[in-house]
Amino acid sequence: MTHQVANEIVALALTLRIAACAIVLILPFGILAAYGLSRYRGPGKSLIETLLALPLVLPPVAIGLILLELLSRSTSSILFTWKSAVIATAAMSFPLLVRGARSAFDAIDPRLADVARTLGRGPLYVFWRVTLPLAWRGVVGGLLTAFARALGEFGATIVVAGSIPGETRTLSLAIFQHIEAGRDAAAMRLVGLSLACAFLCLWSTERLLLRSKRGR
């Protein structure tokens, strides 16, 4: 029993660690992509948006296979290590972060950044002091949604990272393994844990966005 509980804590800690690493990895790119998409008006805009949204609708195992192909070409071996789980998770959560952050950037009056420029401030300063502070709720909201998605990642992870206990066996992989092995009670305990984590993330997102709607 205690051994099992220890295993569950390992799986939970691992899941949180992999999801957190994935989020940290995609955060700068996600914000940049969201901001770029929000401002970009040139040709190919809808093509770029479609490409970015693809991981939302493609089967996760398909993403896994693509990543497997890409990663097997790199010289350093990161496949079937926790790093590959991070990459798979990052790829799957990226579009959610971009979506959340992007709608926040879209909601900002573009004239604010314009005025800030005429006040003698360069684009970078304006981004840090005006655009990002005004979008932060949406960015954090997108981040939490992406994090919730990261916690539940299964399909892409199992293809590129396998299900190695203590290294890549996250909550969802552990649940699957318990079901296969006929340990339904253990599986259900992990389902409860996942549920709690996902609930916390989504609930905080809702609270955050609700508050931002009520006015800043």
Binding site: S72, S77, S163, I179, E180
Partner: protein, 239 residues
């Protein structure tokens, strides 16, 4: 609580069994052989077979949960014993169909093993999950017998089934695998570097028929032409 998860499990099984005369659940390792034999069977009997190939434990659980199936070919006895305990099958309904040999394989230019203990220096090893997938269970049983499991257990990368272990090796990330002889033969990227003597593993494939149609296909699996197909693809056929 148990009902719910089993119901979810069954969905995959039920969906795949629609619109076929005969539904066969079989261990992933038997897919090449069974598909070849099934083509023969279908042309002779005009009956269509729908297969679901996966890890034997998962298939066993789907049957437990109520998946409609005519024949189940498992890669070890554990799922069959569970089903018997549940009353889903009687002892008379199942028998041993095949045997197999466990082999250690390598991708690229991996050198032959003179002793299993050399695995310690060969890095990570892809095989089935020792807790749930028969090939992993056999691998663990063998390595425990060799007194190597305590060390090598950490090198094991557990996969969903034996075919997933092979694809992990195809990606080049893992150089060593423990699979069945039959799987090693079906894959051109790998070669056998060690054969585990069969008395150390005792691999058997039990088969259980659930319906008259299932029993008919079972009879076909025992014909000489089916047996020679199994043998050609690396299985051991008890005579």
């Amino acid at each position: 609580m148990k009902k719910l998860s089993l119901t979810l499990l069954t969905m995959t099984g039920l969906l795949s069994s629609a619109q076929a005369d005969l539904t066969v659940f079989a261990a992933a390792s038997t897919s090449d052989a069974l598909e070849e034999i099934a083509r023969d069977f279908e042309s002779k009997t005009q009956q269509k077979i729908r297969f679901s190939f996966a890890g034997s434990s998962l298939l066993g659980r789907q049957i437990e949960a109520g998946a409609r199936v005519d024949l189940f070919l498992s890669a070890d006895n554990v799922p069959i014993e569970r089903l018997e305990k549940q009353g889903a099958i009687k002892a008379a309904d199942h028998r041993t169909l095949l045997g197999n040999t466990l082999v250690v394989i390598a991708s690229g230019d991996g050198k032959t093993l003179t002793s299993p203990s050399e695995l310690r220096t060969r890095g990570r090893i892809a095989t089935g999950d020792p807790e749930t997938v028969p090939v992993g269970r056999y691998a663990k049983k063998w390595l425990e017998g060799e007194k190597l499991w305590a060390e090598l257990g950490k090198q094991i990368v557990p996969m969903l089934d034996v075919r997933a272990a092979l694809s992990a090796m195809a990606s080049g990330a893992i150089k060593i695998g423990i699979v069945y002889d039959s799987d090693a033969r079906s894959n051109s990227h790998v070669h056998v570097i060690y054969r585990v003597p069969s008395e150390k593993t005792g691999i058997i494939y039990p088969v259980a028929a659930f319906t008259p149609a299932g029993r008919q296909f079972l009879q076909f699996l025992l014909t000489e032409s089916a047996r020679s197909t199994f043998e050609r693809l690396g299985f051991v056929v008890p005579r």
